[in-house]
């Protein structure tokens, strides 16, 4: 029971991060490998605000604002000038941005891990199993954000413009949609979700270091690919699936092989369905 709840909550953290990967891929057609590092920046934003003022809500707000602005800035400075460049150039730039962010964090905060306690939430009992309150909070926050995102994308003008741009950038331009603006909004939303993921992650593991974003970043990317990159429900399904599998594996003797099993799942799914669980075959443009 508690294993499942912890798994679901880890899964919602992965899903929140995976949403950023998948939205940016769907709309800007690029893999933003620096996305995981946004989580790290968010965690340091919380660390700094907490040590300055100590109000958890202020810290969370600061993290969201910092991450959102950072996401927009990265896109403007690093990726926008490369619109139309080869995908390889964009990929290398993204990896460069990732190292840059880690380097800056190391310069400011050093390479050792720092404790970041936002709130101590404790545990409670359901029957004879102990459930962490932080897991429930994470699960609820994740679910709420995903519902809001889904409503935003399907019900608002900007959301529908995002669908249009992801489907056909040229046709979207012909509608009068400013595609650059939509891409910028996408980075902003993806980064805000990463900040939320950062908060939830710190609920579970209350410490940070410059490479904090690397592993959850890779896992969430795997989740996005498993679910079908570009697909929003796919990112949620992939994230939750991976989180549950990870936590279940860790509670069995297979524990040392957890990561291997996760990437194994990725390979199996890609062999069976190369576009991922909910992925669509992209219509080739003529």
């Amino acid at each position: 029971m508690s294993t499942l709840i912890d798994g679901l909550s880890l899964g919602s953290v992965y899903a929140l991060i995976a949403l950023g990967y998948t939205m940016v891929y769907g709309i800007a057609k690029m893999l933003n490998f620096a996305h995981g590092d946004i989580i790290m920046v968010g965690s340091y934003a919380i660390f700094t605000t907490m040590s300055l003022c100590g109000f958890p809500l202020v810290a969370i707000l600061v993290a969201v604002v910092v991450c959102t602005l950072l996401g927009i800035a990265i896109e403007k400075v690093a990726y926008k000038p490369l619109r139309g460049a080869s995908p390889l150039a964009v990929l290398i730039t993204a990896i460069g941005v990732s190292y840059l962010l880690q380097g800056i964090a190391q310069l400011i905060y050093g390479s050792t891990s720092k404790p970041v306690t936002i709130i101590n939430m404790g545990n409670f009992q359901i029957g004879n199993s102990t459930v962490r309150v932080s897991s429930i909070v994470t699960l609820v926050v994740g679910a709420i954000l995903m519902v809001i995102l889904t409503l935003f994308i399907n019900m608002t003008k900007t959301g529908r413009a995002m669908i249009a741009v992801s489907e056909d950038r040229g046709a979207a331009e012909l509608m009068g949609i400013n595609v650059n603006k939509i891409i910028s909004i996408t980075f902003a939303i993806g980064s805000a979700l990463a900040a939320a993921a950062s908060v939830c992650y710190l609920f579970q593991i209350p410490s940070t270091m410059p490479t904090l974003g690397a592993m959850p970043g890779i896992k969430a990317f795997t989740a996005a690919v498993i679910g079908g990159i570009g697909s929003i429900p796919g990112a949620v399904i992939g994230g939750v699936l991976l989180g549950v599998i990870e936590n279940v594996c860790k509670s069995t003797p297979l524990s040392p092989f957890t990561t291997a099993i996760e990437f194994g799942l990725l390979i199996v799914i890609l062999l069976v369905k190369p576009t991922g669980i909910l992925g669509k075959k992209r219509r080739e443009k003529v």
Partner: protein
């Protein structure tokens, strides 16, 4: 007065020159056709005018303003849009949402609502299928949707890139009826067609594009009467 004036347009794909210095104009209230065989450069010309491709040289003046190199969405705001080749409706959005996208630059919601109702009157099929995702429509219905979507922005100049491509004769007739309707309600039309019979019949003037160059120009009637044109584009 020329609503659109293209001068010495040159467009390259890498080192290959697709458009080799063409000039033409579309006057307010006209229907003008660009005819040409597959690969002549019709789509390239249309996309260059809309700013989707950056020309190497030449100028595009619309409504007295130089729009060369302007971003596409700004050009759309100025009152010009295009029904692209191959329809390119948003297949994941419903018919209704596609039409809403067409009105992206329009702020007045009640006007958008009226316009959509108007589209459903012109194209009853779209009204019947308004909640259906566009990917599930037939080719003819998608063409109607692409045309309805484009007219939602009330363009002063509407360009259509091979709107009759791949449609049955009955549907082709319907497409040309709609173009005439748009024209009658005050829209200036620039039409691109490979099959020239119907388009020349409704055109005030036409240009023949061959291999990236304009080789013949005249009124629709003149071109239909020309022996050469009949042989090349009108099937004898």
């Amino acid at each position: 007065m020329a609503l659109l004036e293209v001068k010495d347009l040159q467009v390259f794909y890498g080192v290959i020159q697709a458009i080799k210095g063409i000039s033409f104009e579309v006057n307010q209230g006209e229907i003008v056709t660009l005819i040409g065989a597959n690969g002549a450069g019709k789509t390239t010309t249309m996309q260059s005018i809309m700013g989707l491709i950056k020309p190497r040289d030449g100028s595009i003046v619309y409504d007295g303003k130089n729009i060369t190199g302007m971003p596409t969405h700004k050009i759309v705001e100025m009152g010009m849009t295009q029904v692209p080749e191959g329809r390119r409706v948003f297949s994941e959005l419903t018919v209704y949402e596609n039409l809403l996208m067409g009105a992206y630059t329009e702020k007045d919601r009640s006007r958008i609502k009226e316009d959509i109702e108007e589209i459903y009157t012109i194209f009853p099929r779209l009204g019947e299928r308004k909640s259906q995702v566009a990917g599930t429509l037939s080719g003819g219905e998608q063409q109607m949707l692409a045309m309805g979507r484009a007219i939602m922005s009330h363009p002063k100049l509407l360009m259509l890139d091979e709107p009759s491509m791949g449609l049955s004769p009955a549907l082709v007739d319907q497409v040309f009826e709609i173009i005439k309707h748009f024209h009658n309600t005050g829209t200036t039309i620039l039409l691109v067609e490979q099959n020239a019979n119907k388009s020349l019949a409704i055109s005030d003037r036409a240009y023949v594009l061959e291999n990236g160059r304009i080789t013949v120009t005249g009124t629709g009637k003149e071109l239909m009467a020309s022996e050469e044109i009949r042989k090349a584009y009108l099937g004898g």
